[in-house]
């Protein structure tokens, strides 16, 4: 079945992140100088402007920093999902990630709720990191 939602636009900055996702790995840039783990991927560290990085893999565990429940359908691809939860998840390694909370009803989501990554393979090349309540 054809995937009807928007897909990420892969570019020179984010290619490594999305290639990691395809392998079900959440990969982030860690600054070689100050150790800051950042997202989205970028040429320079926003803390120290160092350009050297090491890519680290996140364990995929974090907590909901904030969330919003979409009752409005802005794009046809999401019609069957509404109401659905868009959230910002703060990973244990530091970075925040925009995502969806799945595997529970919107009423069950709360700020600071522990969550873990689940992967949704939407095309042969793209897998999306979604999150569900931690067991």
């Amino acid at each position: 079945m054809e995937y009807k939602k928007p897909l990420p636009r892969i570019n020179g900055d984010n290619r490594e992140f999305w290639e990691g996702c395809r392998n079900h790995e959440l990969k982030f840039q860690k600054c070689a100088s100050c150790g800051h783990v950042r997202f989205p991927p970028s040429l320079v560290c926003p803390r120290c402007l160092c350009r050297d990085v090491e890519w680290i893999a996140s364990a995929g565990a974090g907590k909901v920093y904030t969330y919003a429940v979409y009752h409005t359908v802005y794009h046809e691809g999401f019609r069957e999902d509404a109401p659905y939860v868009v959230a910002v998840v703060e990973l244990k390694e530091g970075p925040r990630l925009l995502t969806n909370i799945v595997g529970c009803s919107p009423d069950e989501v709360s700020c600071e709720m522990p969550v873990s990554v689940v992967w949704e393979d939407v095309t042969p090349d793209i897998s999306l990191p979604l999150f569900r309540p931690s067991a």
């Binding site: 939602k5 928007p6 897909l7 990420p8 636009r9 997202f39 989205p40 920093y65 904030t66 969330y67 919003a68 429940v69 979409y70 009752h71 409005t72 802005y74 794009h75 691809g77 999401f78 999902d81 109401p83 659905y84 868009v86 910002v88 925040r96 990630l97 925009l98 995502t99 969806n100 919107p106 709360s110 700020c111 600071e112 999306l128």
Partner: protein, 290 residues
């Protein structure tokens, strides 16, 4: 550029056929970028993320925001030009309205309307020779935290409003106690709350009690968004609050004119705000009579 002598008379303009054309949808998709992958679109979703975090960090939510929506609607009903003129709103109306992106309901959102607004800024010296009492720019401040809503750790404040206001008040040589009214960029009710909170009118979570008893409406002790604002008059980005502040200072606001007509203080000093992005930029301007 006025200060540098480059210009003497500057036009600031906004126009958008947002309601009757298809450009709003294009804008939603354009601005969403890769956030659209997760179904995150537009300003309502972004501010909903901010408002939800605020609800977690301090006492706020619909019981606070209803005062903002209802207070501004009361002003709109004194403004024949307001899009929502003639459509009074009660707390019950507010609380029974539909969610757009929870926790934000329809009346928490600014209007989508067709129209335009412009102002002319000139030197005080020149303004004195023109038709109206000049709305004098006494102070300006801006602060740009810049971080996207999906990366920000300060969605519940302090936003750029705090530093921008400090700069503007200091330039004007006044304190918050000198302020007679506020015209606040109100893309959403929560924006008004967090802006006034960061301006120091009340502490985090004290908004519900500060806004209650009609504080910001006609006859209130701190009138806010006296045209009806972007929630109930019309949306022209920063020109909704700025133009209304100028008109109040000029004394041209008819039934909604601040002063004895509405049981409020004379508008000698008005604090004006503008926001950009999702709490990524904040401008504060002190307009006054001299």
């Amino acid at each position: 550029m006025l200060d540098a002598g480059l210009c003497r008379n500057v036009l600031i303009s906004y126009g958008h056929n947002a309601l009757s054309s298809d450009s709003l949808l294009a804008m939603l998709m354009d601005f969403a970028g890769d956030d659209a992958v997760f179904g995150h679109f537009g300003a309502t979703g972004g501010y909903a993320l901010a408002a939800r975090r605020a609800m977690h960090e301090f006492n706020t939510g619909p019981q606070t925001w209803k005062h903002i929506a209802v207070g501004e609607r009361a002003w709109a009903n004194l403004n024949p030009l307001a899009v929502m003129h003639g459509r009074p709103m009660s707390f019950d109306d507010y609380l029974s309205s539909k969610y757009v992106v929870e926790p934000l309901r329809l009346p928490d959102n600014c209007l989508v309307n067709d129209g335009g607004r412009a102002v002319v800024v000139t030197t005080l010296e020149r303004a004195r020779d023109l038709k109206h009492r000049p709305a004098v720019i006494l102070g300006l401040g801006q602060h740009n935290p810049s971080v996207q809503v999906t990366q920000s750790g300060t969605l519940a404040g302090s936003t750029g409003a705090r530093k921008a206001c400090e700069t503007a008040l200091s330039m004007a040589g006044i304190t918050r106690d000198d302020v007679d009214a506020c015209e606040i960029y109100d893309c959403f009710t929560y924006t008004v709350e967090v802006t006034l909170q960061d301006y120091g009118f009340f502490g985090p979570g004290e908004g519900e009690s500060w806004f209650s008893e009609g504080t910001i409406g006609p006859g209130g002790r701190m009138p806010v968004n006296t045209s009806g604002g972007q929630l109930s008059e019309a949306y022209y980005m920063g020109l909704t609050p700025l133009s209304e502040a100028a008109m109040q200072i000029m004394g041209r606001c008819g039934d909604r004119q601040l002063g004895p007509a509405t049981g409020t203080a004379e508008p000698n000093i008005i604090l004006v705000s503008d926001n950009g992005g999702i709490l990524q930029a904040h401008s504060c301007c002190v307009l006054g009579r001299i």
